[in-house]
């Protein structure tokens, strides 16, 4: 027997709302769905009149519905917003390439401008390449960390006031559970906030915070919106899966539990005596970070040094890995210097200078890097100077490349980020080549990786 629509419009209901249990017809549902999002936006004061807003668009149901609803509400209630789409191309074959086509269609359908940034351009690596390095486990860490920063970069380029993301109620409840399971108290505190962003950063808002995934799917389906519904090819191994499975099981029993979890998250607070990491600016890339160097930079460093696991797990582990790496590098450096010294010796042997130079200072300083200086001082001009100088710049280069504790000197300034970043990668890529050549312990994956990015 058909159930009548709860609003009393006379039509038959076609869905039961999970949040309240009320049954609504199609038209009333559309209206209720949109009005609720309007309520969230106005009550939480997410936007200001005249703002430019970037909608983080993946082509999936959430962001498609978000773009559609924001456009509708912007017109209906005259928010006066300038909406645009911002997409990140992670470089996942069979997933993102297809979904970006959907975003492009959204761009045309909703008449919004679209900006696409790719991991390849920003970081020099695509997710496909990263997964080839790190394997199927932990790869979501890279993708998530990089995307977060990529969105910030994109928003800065577009000059928008805020970024609207398509996080829905299910996502947020899931994150609360996940952060409890991981004991991540700092994120637990932030994750239920509808608007996040400290001073100096571009805030992110979640207009769909109180909207159930189920209703989003329904809305997209009945509105016949074009969206991309394949799950990421790398996602099944993510830790999030545990929390998601639990939430889905709970939702079956009691659909309101999603709102209940969000309420729990909203009313919880971290005890005063607990010290939390403070938000600051990464010393390398100048984007938001809770550490001196942000996670994105650490992960990237790991990738570029052939230590993909560097940013995964505890920071103490990372330290140990870096130490090991450094000792190895030192060894390499010593070898390289020895090699150079041999070269110098050869040169010196060829050199027509007197015995004094070779036997005294040049030899003494052999382990150091001061060949050039000593030679310059003591060799009375007969030494083949130019050659020595060339060799020494090579040593300097090597040193500059291998010394990782030194902060990268080429710090990106806003505006021409990408160019600088690319330069950074160029140097580090060369370094990788060096590792590949000199380090026999490097497994085959490393070489494979090298060929992938075309060394």
């Amino acid at each position: 027997m058909p159930i009548p629509c709860r609003t009393g419009c006379g039509k038959n209901a076609m869905l039961k709302r999970p949040k309240t249990g009320d049954a609504l017809c199609k038209e009333c549902f559309f209206w209720a769905f949109e009005t609720e999002i309007h309520f969230t936006i106005t009550k939480a004061e997410l936007f200001k009149r005249g703002d430019s807003v970037a909608v983080a668009a993946s082509g999936g149901k959430d962001s498609t519905v978000l773009a559609h609803v924001l456009k509708t509400l912007n017109e209906r209630y005259d928010y006066g917003l300038n909406l645009m789409l911002l997409s990140i191309d992670e470089g996942i074959t069979g997933y993102r390439d297809d979904s970006l086509e959907t975003v492009k269609r959204n761009r045309d359908d909703y008449e919004m401008s679209l900006k696409i940034l790719s991991y390849k351009d920003l970081y020099g690596w695509t997710m496909d390449e990263i997964v080839a390095q790190i394997g199927r486990k932990n790869n979501c860490t890279f993708c998530g960390v990089f995307r977060r920063q990529a969105l910030d970069r994109g928003a800065a380029m577009l000059g928008v006031k805020c970024i609207a993301t398509g996080h829905n109620a299910d996502d947020i409840a899931e994150t609360v559970l996940m952060n409890v399971l991981r004991g991540d108290i700092a994120r637990l505190k932030r994750c239920t906030a509808i608007s996040t962003g400290s001073e100096g950063t571009i805030p992110r808002v979640k207009p769909l915070k109180y909207t159930y995934e189920k209703e989003i799917v329904m809305y997209a389906h009945y509105k016949k919106l074009v969206y991309f519904s394949t799950e990421c090819v790398f996602a099944p191994n993510a830790y999030r899966g545990h929390a998601r499975a639990l939430l889905k099981d709970m939702e079956k029993i009691r659909p309101t539990c999603i709102m209940d979890i969000i309420y729990s998250g909203e009313t919880m607070a971290v005890k005063e005596e607990v010290t939390l990491p403070t938000q600051r600016i990464c010393t390398r890339c100048k984007f938001v970070s809770s550490q001196e160097v942000c996670k994105a930079c650490v992960l990237l460093e790991g990738l570029n040094k052939g230590l993909p696991k560097l940013g995964i797990g505890k920071s103490s582990k990372a330290k140990r890995m870096l130490d090991e790496y450094n000792t190895k590098q030192e060894q390499n450096l010593k070898d390289a210097i020895k090699q150079l010294d041999n070269d110098v010796e050869k040169i010196e042997n060829n050199c027509q200078s007197n015995q004094k130079c070779r036997s005294n200072l040049c030899k003494n300083k052999r382990n150091g890097l001061l060949n050039k200086k000593s030679c310059n001082n003591k060799c009375s001009g007969n030494c083949d100077r130019t050659k020595v100088i060339v060799d020494n710049t090579k040593v300097d280069n090597l040193l500059a490349k291998y010394a990782i504790h030194e902060p990268v000197k080429k710090i990106n300034t806003d505006g021409n980020n990408i160019v600088n970043v690319d330069e950074d990668f160029d140097t580090s890529d060369n370094e990788d080549v060096n590792i590949d050549q000199e380090d026999d312990t490097c497994s085959a994956s490393c070489g494979k990786m090298g060929s992938l990015i075309g060394f």
């Binding site: 419009c9 949040k19 639990l246 209940d260 309420y263 729990s264 919880m268």
Partner: protein
Amino acid sequence: MYCKKCKDLGTLTIRKEHLYCVKCFMISVNHKFRACIGKNKILSSNQKVLVCLTGGQSSTVLLDLIYNGLLQDNHKKLRIIPFFLHLTGFGEKETDHKVAELVINQCKSYKFNVYIVNISKFYFQKSNTLPDINSLAETNTEQDLKTNLKNILKKVNPTSSNDIETKIKHDTFRRVAKECQCNFIFTAETTTTLAVNLLSNLAIGRGSQVEYDIGFSDSRDEIKILRPMKDITVEELHHYIQIKNLTHISIDKIQDNNLQSVIKQFVWDLQENFPATVSTVCKTADKIGSIDKSDKRCQFCKSAVVPNNEKLTAIEATNFSRTVSNFHLGQYLNEETRPKELTNEHDGSMFPFINEYFCYCCSKNYLESGNQNNNLFKDMLPV
């Protein structure tokens, strides 16, 4: 293959990696129990403590730990004056009796006296006379049937029913403790149970009460509930019981259509595959408090209610959802014609009496228990 403490031959593997010999293992469990009481500095010496027993594994171990503590010599003696309580009236009469008899026997073997109290008598009939010790006096009056907890909770959905039962139990503990002039109560929740409770609390909207429901001490009332077994895991319990060959009884209510049992299953699986997660979950709980506390208390669970403020929360969002699902299209397009949001039980609010008489979860429980169930909430609301 050696014990990680004394380098003797180890026979027990804890968390799949730590090997212990029996002696060191028992010391470590005892230490966890004593350290938990000691470091929290809530109990001063020679306090009267009401120990709540269920006959289950953790309660059996708690009883044994207390007995051992009292036996120690001066320096290490556990300085409490224990009273023992077992509540009945949760299930079928036969099983209730069986469990109560076991608890009496357990206590007898340690020469302890135990009160067997029927929860309906103390909670619903407001009786406050303690029964004779070590006796199972059950009557079968009409009033007993009417106030039978099982019958009352039958109409409520299982998730809420579990929650209400826990709250009623705690309230009864406190009533009995008052009669015995105890200011403290011991319950036997283990780390594993508490991890389940934490996730359950989150899932039913009791996130802000985690501090009291999962932490060492529940100080929502003058009479404090303490959880001295909070650092001991279920795995350790199993070993303890086997080593000491203790008798216990487990009445697992077979229900699978409630959140608590789904979460329990989830945590037990975690325990199996990721043994560290359970303790992580509990450590997280230690760091969680609640946002601004007010003096106003929920009439049912005694938790502080969240003071009303302008911020958008899940309450407003859900209420708005209800409102918007009940009126004709277009009615809300401008602010002036928008009717007031629904706030009390008669006009279909999702949260009756919220933040006035009830906290979020109790308000939901009230709504779900329906009007037939006046027994549960009748004294708490204005007439």
